[in-house]
């Protein structure tokens, strides 16, 4: 799933909405689009819509044709994106400053801000095709769930009796006395890393009984407790699924040009220099 933000830079609310509508219309040609609206003024008892959360922390209202509405408590923007990633091709986040995703700003022609892919005064100034192409070139947002769902949709899934997965995450401490790791920062050899990952997937998929392999590795800053890397294997039986997951993560760590800097509360270092 590709994610981008829309932020207001002095436009009126309607202008922001028209920009959102126009981009959603364009992206819906490519796949399912999710929209996340953030509004800091929504707090206990001041929801913009009448809350359906009565007698429970999460409520769904379902219709006969699959239409639904939901409300609830305890969901952050990142959580919402993780949920959308399961079945959306795109997600639009409206109203979040300093999003880590590319952002369209409305109400200015100043596109120099970091992370800004387009700056428009109004929706007529948009070039939706250019923005769609730009998003396509960026790293997608994936979760373990989105990768598992993808392999389940494989045409070969009829022959699959097993899905095995590996999740690598940021370990705050090697032992209890360790200085806490705040975040890791991954640098990638653009192009070559992706080629190596794709070649590794193809190689593993050529094994007997292995049907689909998905490898995904985040880059940039990954914070303490967050997931870094996923290996998902769809296979006929559990034995080859387990073996392929293990070989997949081992080979990814050995062969793909990615470089990890560790930042702890006390220090900052490239991980290969420590061993």
């Amino acid at each position: 799933m590709h994610v981008f933000g829309i932020c207001d830079r002095g436009a009126d609310r309607d202008a922001v909405e028209r920009v959102c509508d126009r981009l959603v219309d364009r992206l819906e040609r490519e796949g399912r689009v999710g929209v996340v609206r953030y509004d800091a003024t929504i707090a206990d008892g001041t929801a913009v819509h009448d809350s359906t959360t009565v007698g429970g922390d999460v409520s769904y209202e379902l219709g006969a044709d699959g239409d639904w509405a939901a409300s609830g408590t305890g969901l952050g923007v990142g959580d919402a994106l993780d949920r959308l990633a399961a079945d959306c091709a795109y997600a639009v986040v409206v109203g979040v400053e300093e999003l880590r995703h590319p952002t369209v700003v409305v109400g200015t022609d100043d596109a120099d801000e970091e992370g800004v892919v387009a700056a428009v005064e109004q929706s007529d100034d948009l070039d939706p095709d250019a923005i769609a192409a730009e998003l396509e070139s960026r790293e997608p947002h994936e979760t373990l769930h989105s990768l598992v769902d993808r392999v389940k949709r494989s045409p070969t899934a009829d022959q699959a009796g097993a899905i095995a997965t590996f999740t690598g995450r940021v370990r705050a401490k090697d032992d209890a006395d360790d200085a806490r790791t705040q975040y890791l920062e991954f640098e990638k050899y653009e192009g070559v890393a992706d080629e190596r990952m794709a070649a590794l997937e193809t190689d593993l998929e050529a094994r007997d009984g292995v049907l689909e392999v998905e490898l995904y590795h985040r880059t940039g800053v990954v914070e303490d407790g967050e997931d870094i890397v996923f290996v998902v294997v769809l296979a006929g039986h559990r034995e080859e699924a387990f073996r392929t997951v293990e070989d997949g993560i081992n080979r990814l760590k050995d062969e793909v040009p990615l470089f990890k800097k560790e930042v702890t509360v006390e220090d900052e270092f490239w991980v290969h220099e420590q061993s």
Binding site: V192, H217, P257, L258, F259, K260
Partner: protein, 93 residues
Amino acid sequence: MATEWKLFADLAERAGDKHVTVDADAGDTVGDALEQLVAGRPDLEARVLEDGDLRSQINVLRNGTNVLVEEEGLETVLEEGDELALFPPVSGG
């Protein structure tokens, strides 16, 4: 035509840049390009070379291919528009 080096992790920090263009050209060797890269960058030189040889942990790629494993090492001859990369052991995951 010049040749471009891409540097990663601490090697980029030691070189002061992630991209360095050198004069080595088609017909010259990877070793020539490396010599030009480390010239005037003693910190980088000490990190990647030991008695004039490449340290064992350092990787050199030409257009994504490891020249030490699949080509003629530092003797590999450059072609027009090659992209060279220099990096320490990979550390993904």
